[in-house]
């Protein structure tokens, strides 16, 4: 089996399928640039998480040391019959109750208790997390961008009947404005429809080729548009 199947005499069906097969394509320059940029951004996240973990580790060690010190203190206080003024676990809990702070265990109490002078607050003490802060802009801009995309395409769709040329212009505007948009196939369907209505069937077919190249919903819709006119 040292020769290609096509050279060895593959069955007719196989020959037909493999005849026009294309080798995998190379990464384009724009794809490479985007990939590089995304990787640069992503490599910062583990750094932040690592720093958080390191801080958490340090705090844990400190709280353990503090807790063991306070246990020794309590035990020492108990053996002498409980001296006046020596803080015990019970007194710490009582102070916490008075300031509105909840104590769940010895160690967290040592690190999360606010100073006595601090005003009592209704909100629980925030816990330290080893997670990088959420990138608010990225999260918030996503739905906004999707809404903007949908609005632009809706405008384009509304123009299909009266002015297909305007619809095509708006579709191209979407293409330029939302390079990483989520409604790319929808835009393509509008553009194909507009081209067909403008009598540019060749261009419509060319534009439909990627959609027709893969089975699914968009394949069927593109076929319907091309068949309808």
């Amino acid at each position: 089996m040292t020769k290609r199947w096509l050279e060895e005499g593959a069955p007719a069906g196989v020959r037909e399928l493999l005849g026009g097969a294309r080798a995998p394509r190379a990464m384009r320059a724009d794809e490479r640039a985007r990939s590089r940029a995304r990787l640069r951004r992503a490599s910062l996240v583990p750094l932040a998480a690592g720093l958080g973990l390191w801080m958490k580790g340090g705090l844990l060690a400190a709280s353990l040391a503090l807790a063991s010190t306070s246990v020794v203190w309590v035990v020492a206080g108990g053996s002498t019959g409980g001296r006046e003024g020596v803080p015990t676990l019970g007194s710490a809990a009582a102070r916490a109750r008075s300031t509105g702070t909840r104590i769940e265990s010895v160690a967290p109490a040592a690190t999360t208790l606010p100073p006595p002078t601090q005003a009592p607050t209704a909100t629980p003490t925030p816990k330290l997390r080893a997670v990088a802060p959420p990138t608010g802009s990225a999260v918030a801009s996503e739905p906004h961008s999707l809404a903007a995309e949908a609005a632009l395409l809706e405008r384009a769709r509304a123009q299909l009947g009266s002015s297909p040329a305007t619809a095509l212009q708006l579709a191209d505007e979407h293409r330029r404005s939302f390079l990483q948009g989520q409604l790319g196939p929808e835009r393509e369907l509008i553009a194909i429809d507009a081209l067909v209505r403008l009598g540019r069937r060749d261009a419509a077919l060319r534009r439909a080729a990627p959609l027709l190249g893969q089975p699914g919903l968009y394949h069927d819709r593109a076929t319907r548009i091309l068949d309808a006119h």
């Binding site: 089996m1 097969a21 190379a26 490479r32 490599s43 948009g181 060749d202 080729a209």
Partner: protein, 192 residues
């Protein structure tokens, strides 16, 4: 006593301690980004998902760079990661019945719209049949039958012996022929 052998005696890999994870990934991306991109296509990742999956491969590299054994070719290591990423994506796509939603290519090399259409339909048919192969067999089949790589070259890339390349190729051809036959019968019956 050979001091250089000490790390392997204690089970450590020969990594690049002088290099940071970030620098390692950047170097791997510059040198082999295109290889990963092509390899993902060999495993059947669709054009619409290629950028995301390439990113996912390099995110794995960022997490696992310290486990890289320098005695293994970088491309072989990346090939293994890309295969797992592609297999995972195929499982997820199967569960969600995903539709492609990202940017689609607009340009084709075909001279006329009709030939572009014929080429697109042929590519779709080939994709359907290749989809019947598992990712590993598919990649070997694509490299040998479509890209024209030799068994030795494929073995080097995938990190497997030449004999294994041939046995997987044999299996892939069998599966491909069965899937092509099934597709032909479906078309004759006129069922999708």
């Amino acid at each position: 006593m050979n001091l250089k052998a000490l790390p392997s005696l204690f089970g450590f890999r020969r990594t690049a301690p002088a290099e940071s994870g970030e620098a390692f990934v950047r170097r791997a991306h510059e040198a082999h980004g295109d290889f990963v991109f092509r390899t993902l296509q060999r495993f059947g990742v669709r054009d619409a998902d290629l950028e995301d999956m390439t990113q996912e491969v390099f995110m794995v590299v960022l997490r696992k760079w310290h486990t890289y054994d320098r005695e293994v070719k970088m491309t072989t290591w990346l090939y293994g990661i890309a295969m797992r990423v592609a297999a995972g994506q195929r499982r997820r796509a199967w569960v969600r019945r995903e539709e492609p939603t990202s940017e689609l290519p607009h340009e084709t090399d075909e001279a006329s719209p009709e030939s572009a259409l014929v080429a697109a339909r042929r590519a779709q048919a080939l994709e359907e049949v290749l989809g019947a192969l598992d990712v590993d067999a598919r990649a070997i089949f694509v490299m040998f039958e479509i890209e024209g790589l030799s068994a030795q070259e494929i073995g080097d890339v995938a990190g497997i012996p030449v004999g294994t390349v041939y046995s997987r190729l044999h299996y892939a051809r069998k599966k491909f022929e069965q899937a092509a036959e099934l597709r032909r019968r479906r078309e004759e019956r006129g069922t999708p």
